[in-house]
């Protein structure tokens, strides 16, 4: 990647990137062990700043926190095998092992703030196309913020005829359901894909986004790809504003 993106490591370590930059940098982290290592060390440094601002919590907080965890099962550990496919190109020299552990680290780093693993498999084509849309000169952004801080952003490039949905901290869809994505053409909603599980996603929509009037997100039964929306509407983004 270029040197510009490396320079974002400090801002990333202190959460000073906007959602778009953060998504880009996290993709960069997956392939840059140097930045992954640097981010880890800069986060250590940043956490020291909290030493200067102690505050005594209310006694009630302790009760609430301890009551809150009692019914929640800790997630299983990330098992090392998941990183193995990254290592099959080069023999496992010690140095390469380190790279692999950094990659696993990157996945873990992305996962922590959100309570779920967001590392999903996307083909290289999808990744670069997503980048192209986000970085397009004519990219338009439409963001909605939900109570609790979750956000969904639609980025559309008319020239590329594509749109990307970027979610951040989205609560999981109800059990047995998934978020479905739609491109609105006049009054019709055309299926544009299903959002992978996890709070943070970037999804390239299928369909012609240039002629579309907007994007919709609905809740549908998991495992189905209905031809038209049948469930609750989570968000609507109009391109014509």
């Amino acid at each position: 990647m270029n040197s510009d993106i490396h320079a974002l490591s400090g801002a990333y370590a202190v959460d000073a990137l906007d959602d778009i930059e953060r998504a880009q940098f996290e993709r960069h982290l997956a392939e840059c062990p140097a930045c992954t290592s640097e981010v880890a060390s800069l986060r250590e440094a940043a956490a020291l700043l909290a030493e200067t601002t102690p505050a005594t919590p209310s006694p009630e907080l302790r009760d609430r926190v301890l009551a809150g965890i009692a019914n929640v099962r800790p997630l299983p550990p990330v098992v090392a095998e998941q990183a193995e496919p990254e290592a099959d190109v080069i023999p496992l020299a010690p140095r390469r092992r380190r790279v692999v552990s950094f990659l696993a680290a990157a996945a873990a780093v992305v996962a922590i703030g959100t309570g779920g693993v967001v590392w999903h498999q996307l083909s290289q084509d999808d990744l670069s196309r997503t980048d192209e849309v986000i970085q397009a000169d004519d990219a338009q952004r439409f963001t909605q913020t939900f109570p609790g801080g979750a956000t969904a952003t639609v980025v559309r490039s008319k020239s590329l005829k594509e749109a990307v949905v970027i979610t951040h901290d989205m609560p999981a869809a109800p059990d047995g359901h998934a978020y479905a994505l739609w491109l609105q053409h006049d009054d019709a909603m055309l299926p544009a894909g299903i959002m992978p599980e996890g709070p943070d996603n970037e999804v390239l929509l299928s369909g012609d986004a240039a002629s579309a009037d907007g994007v919709g997100i609905t809740v549908e039964n998991a495992g189905e790809e209905p031809a038209e929306p049948s469930g609750d509407v989570v968000a609507l983004f109009s391109f014509n504003t």
Binding site: L61, I112, P147
Partner: protein, 222 residues
Amino acid sequence: MVTDTNTRETDDVDRLRPVADGAPFEEGAPAAPEQNQPHPAQPDLGELLRACGRGDETAFARLYDATSTRVVGLALRVVRDRAQAEEVAQEAFLDIWKNSGRFDQGLGSPLGWMLTIVHRKAVDRVRSAEAATRRDTTYHQQNQPVDHDSTAEAATASLEARRVRQALGDLTQVQREALELAYFGGYTHTEVATMLQLPVGTAKTRIRDGLIRLRDTMGVGS
């Protein structure tokens, strides 16, 4: 578009007010003496986290007791409102519990890992509250100058806090200001650049340089 009207007003007010020394603590005990410094009495947080990963609630209670003043202090410093800070802390502790089995000591310290989670949640909180207000007022109208020296002194300084402040003193003024606005203010590097009247794109460099110097002075990280 959904907005959170409960938090809007308090956030507005808090964001508008320049930070006075110690201001974030006004509703709480003034920087209570820490019983949980990383010194002899400190339990092994890594060990506690591993026990949490196995579902050990007693270990989690000990982890809470050892870290809650830092967790709440950081949340309070960023969101400024005590009730919201405790909500952020509660969410963060729940996340820490859920992900405790995934903590990898090879990647950093237990406390660093925990505070990273807390910080992200606190920043998310101020940004989402702010997004609701930005539609009504322009960014510049909302943001008054901030007291850049806001971390200079607190009433009581732990040993570690004194070391950190000394290390911060080694940063250039602009590095320190940029770092504090980003970390404690929850501002993006682009916003920081505007607030400090830096050329676009240079605040991120100042933040990174400041963190590197702080890291190297304190001897943390890799």
